[in-house]
Symmetry: C2
Amino acid sequence: MAKPRNIAPATTADLPADQQVALKLWVTLARAYHAVQQQAVADARRDGFSIGEFAVLELLYHRGPTLLGEIQTRILVSSGGITYLVDRLVDKGLVERRDCPDDRRARYAALTPDGTRAMRRIFPRHAARIAAAMHGLGVRDQRDATRLLKQLGLAAAAASADDSPGAQTGAH
Amino acid sequence: MAKPRNIAPATTADLPADQQVALKLWVTLARAYHAVQQQAVADARRDGFSIGEFAVLELLYHRGPTLLGEIQTRILVSSGGITYLVDRLVDKGLVERRDCPDDRRARYAALTPDGTRAMRRIFPRHAARIAAAMHGLGVRDQRDATRLLKQLGLAAAAASADDSPGAQTGAH
DNA sequence: CGATAGTTCCTCAGAACTGAGATACTGTCA
DNA sequence: TGACAGTATCTCAGTTCTGAGGAACTATCG
């Protein structure tokens, strides 16, 4: 493992200390996210769903009929993405579109009876698998981590919103 | 009284308390990750790179010439993905492949002089932007979050490795 | 009203991958 | 030595999205 140490460009070690801490957190956050996501992907795939499809099903299962635009902001996909995902679930017979009586531009997505049955079967195992993936932390640490990540996520989202004017605030 | 024909829980609220905590952490983790990632995506795109391309550049900038397989496990892409990413960076003139003298199957990727110059220019601004995205937490909280996420990520990765035998990465 | 700005969803070209299989090489063992 | 399992990368068809643009509808305001 020879390390050519003669040149000293602007690497991480030359950054201000606070930036080093932030970058380390970013790398660790990304790794933790990917590791848990692998579990979610494997679980969804067992039932023939992509992560995006599963996220839509889960949202509709918990919230009931939901406007496409709201699904979009909640599961964080693009406008084309939500059309694509709902199309696929409609093809599978698990979701249906419904017109919105108050606004003829808007449409709801809702679980069909088949979709509800499928989620009733699938969801408990999915929840157990995610919980197992989180098992590296005890309940107390999980709460601490949730609090910190919530604070982090809200601040970062606010920073994003600054760049792209037109994006709505979300939650205050 | 309701007749519990189905033992399976209908919604999150019916799950065991520890699973509720775990799912909440998962949702919060995903949101925080996406929020910060949006910053990284926007920053990389400003220079004409995808996130994957930028991750390769960053890795090579800090580690020097690296075997493709090692890049693959570090930035978490598929085998086809790493070939694709390196191809694109080679086309841009920022990266070159080098044969490995010890193993004729293996190849290194390394920054070209152009690639090094580009990263010397780009990286400090990128680090500053990530640090700004993390600004919702103070340095002490960032360290706490890093510790918790590291613990979480390692345990979740170990759980993944159990499912898919043959994937021996990480904890040496 | 009518113009116009804003929104909600859909279309579609193509970006950014994934993953199974192919190719080429290495290490092990009888 | 030869058979064979293991490893590193590449190929390529297919998947899952992104985002610019457009059609249809709604809201606002002179």
